[in-house]
């Protein structure tokens, strides 16, 4: 090679390519670990469809898994150079959606309300704003919440089977709220939009369950919306 071009440039570039490959493999290994832990949480939480008594225990176990996930995200945060979040995030976002769903479900089971983005971020050790560091985007939070709605519709059905008639009413208000919120948005034609379109069917199924309960007078009590709102906090202890 002559004086025109320094071979060094290409050595440096090869170095760059090798580094990137290595980084991607490290990310993949961590993501697989997080995935494994989130899967475990999912298995614990399956109990909601068959045995309501075991729910509190399942929530505790799930939280242990989330702790392990947090460790994984911590490793990711250390690994990814600060400004390169968007260069690599496709590798873990799919799994993040699932973890958000599972955390949302756990919080709902424990406390009966919608987990906030701030709380999810805290549980996973993520920042809320990207300026502060490795963060949780609002889109990804919402993707997880929509996944949760789908699980709740199944939960409503099985709760009835297990003889719990108040849970579906509670779920119905919860999911209906979510639906109203999403209807306010002008969504682009992306994955979030598709997921939201699926929500409508979850809403419908839950409404049918509520209808079935109501028509048979199985609803715990006739209550006005105001009463319903009051009753809300109480519900969960009854149900669990």
């Amino acid at each position: 090679m002559s004086t025109f071009i320094h071979q060094e440039l290409f050595l440096k570039f090869q170095q760059h390519l090798d580094n990137e490959l290595e980084l991607k493999e490290k990310i993949r290994a961590i993501v697989r670990e997080i995935e494994q832990n989130s899967k475990e949480a999912a298995i614990h939480l399956q109990v909601i469809h068959s045995n309501i008594e075991k729910v509190p225990q399942a929530c505790l176990e799930a939280r242990k898994c989330f702790d392990k996930c947090r460790e994984g995200y911590k490793q990711l945060a250390e690994l990814i150079p600060p400004k390169q979040y968007y260069k690599y995030c496709d590798q873990w976002l799919y799994n993040t959606h699932r973890v958000v769903f599972l955390i949302g479900l756990t919080i709902y089971l424990e406390a009966g309300f919608l987990v906030s983005r701030e709380t999810v971020a805290e549980i996973l050790g993520l920042k809320v704003s990207q300026s502060e560091g490795f963060h949780l985007d609002i889109e990804d939070y919402l993707m997880g919440i929509l996944q949760m709605a789908s699980e709740l519709s199944r939960f409503a059905t099985n709760a009835v089977t297990l003889g719990d008639y108040s849970r579906p009413l509670n779920i119905s208000r919860f999911v209906s709220d979510l639906n109203s919120g999403f209807r306010l948005l002008n969504l682009k034609n992306d994955s979030l939009r598709k997921r939201f379109d699926a929500l409508k069917y979850d809403v419908k199924r839950i409404e049918e369950v509520v209808y079935d309960i109501s028509i048979r007078g199985l609803a715990p009590q006739v209550q006005t919306q105001a009463q319903a709102d009051e009753a809300e906090q109480a519900t969960d202890s009854t149900a669990a």
């Binding site: 009413l169 119905s172 002008n186 809403v203 419908k204 509520v210 028509i215 048979r216 007078g217 609803a219």
Partner: protein
């Protein structure tokens, strides 16, 4: 974004001189196209919002008159401001030339307007000729947006300066495409009405969808690929609405049988009073 900057330093051949003119003409077209696309996007957004507003009508909320009034005002405003802008851009031009630029907005408007008519219990859906009058404007003088017209054009216009009609044409195909989307909204209406216990609306929606679908079955869409796709969607909307009515029927029938057993009279009672109170969910 013109090329005027280079003009000084490059010595022009006659070809270059001609191409500078061509560049201007192409840029003009392109700019006009972009402007119309933006106008159309505004119409799309506003039309979607009006549809959203119309979906908030609920018998039990007793807000029908109010919402319809609001929606009508906003629909008129779209005609009198947004579409007027497009009509001005298209003044003296072949409307087909920029059709693709404003077609999405136009179709969404048609969808919104026909959905408005549906909810208003109009005796008859307006067709493209009916709607055309909303998008026909009498203007006092030649529009000021056109500046690069030649002298001859100017003098021609001066003769007609007193009154002039400009339009934003609604082509039948655009109407038919926009109307097909109405099916989706009526289907949503059907599902939402089920949610709020307004059974009559469900059946009305289902009947309307069946009629609409039968109408589209008549069309032999030669060379248009979009219409068949829309018909497929319309069929699915119809099936969904039919399913809703089916569910009402089987569940309603069940309720009736429980009723005769005197175990669920209370529940039936609730259905009857749905119109007045907040319902049970």
């Amino acid at each position: 974004s013109t090329n005027s900057r280079q003009e000084e330093d490059v010595v022009d051949t006659p070809v270059m001189a001609a191409f500078r003119e061509y560049a201007k003409e192409l840029d003009d077209k392109h700019d006009r196209y972009e402007r119309i696309v933006k106008m159309s996007r505004d119409i799309t957004i506003e039309s979607k919002r009006i549809i959203f507003l119309l979906h908030t009508i609920e018998t039990r909320r007793n807000n029908r008159e109010k919402v319809l009034e609001d929606a009508e005002k906003r629909l008129r405003a779209v005609c009198e401001t947004n579409f007027l802008l497009i009509a001005r851009e298209l003044e003296d031009l072949d409307q087909n030339q920029y059709l693709r630029a404003f077609s999405p907005g136009l179709q969404e408007f048609i969808e919104a307007y026909s959905y408005f008519e549906y909810l208003k219990d109009s005796s008859k859906l307006s067709d493209w000729d009916d709607l055309q009058q909303f998008l026909t404007y009498n203007i006092d003088k030649p529009s000021s947006t056109k500046e690069n017209e030649t002298k001859e054009e100017k003098s021609l216009q001066e003769q007609t300066v007193a009154k002039k009609q400009i339009v934003c044409t609604i082509k039948p195909v655009e109407f038919i495409l926009g109307l097909a989307d109405l099916g989706g909204e009526i289907m949503r209406r059907c599902i939402n009405s089920l949610g709020s216990g307004d059974i009559d609306s469900c059946f009305q929606a289902c009947r309307t969808l069946q009629t609409l679908y039968a109408g589209y079955l008549r069309i032999r869409p030669v060379g248009n690929r979009e219409i068949p796709r829309k018909i497929t969607t319309l069929r699915q909307s119809t099936l969904k609405a039919e399913n809703v009515c089916y569910n009402i029927k089987v569940r309603g029938g069940e309720a009736a049988s429980w009723d005769t057993l005197d175990t669920a009279g209370f529940a039936m009672d609730k259905i009857a009073h749905d119109d007045e109170d907040e319902g049970f969910y």
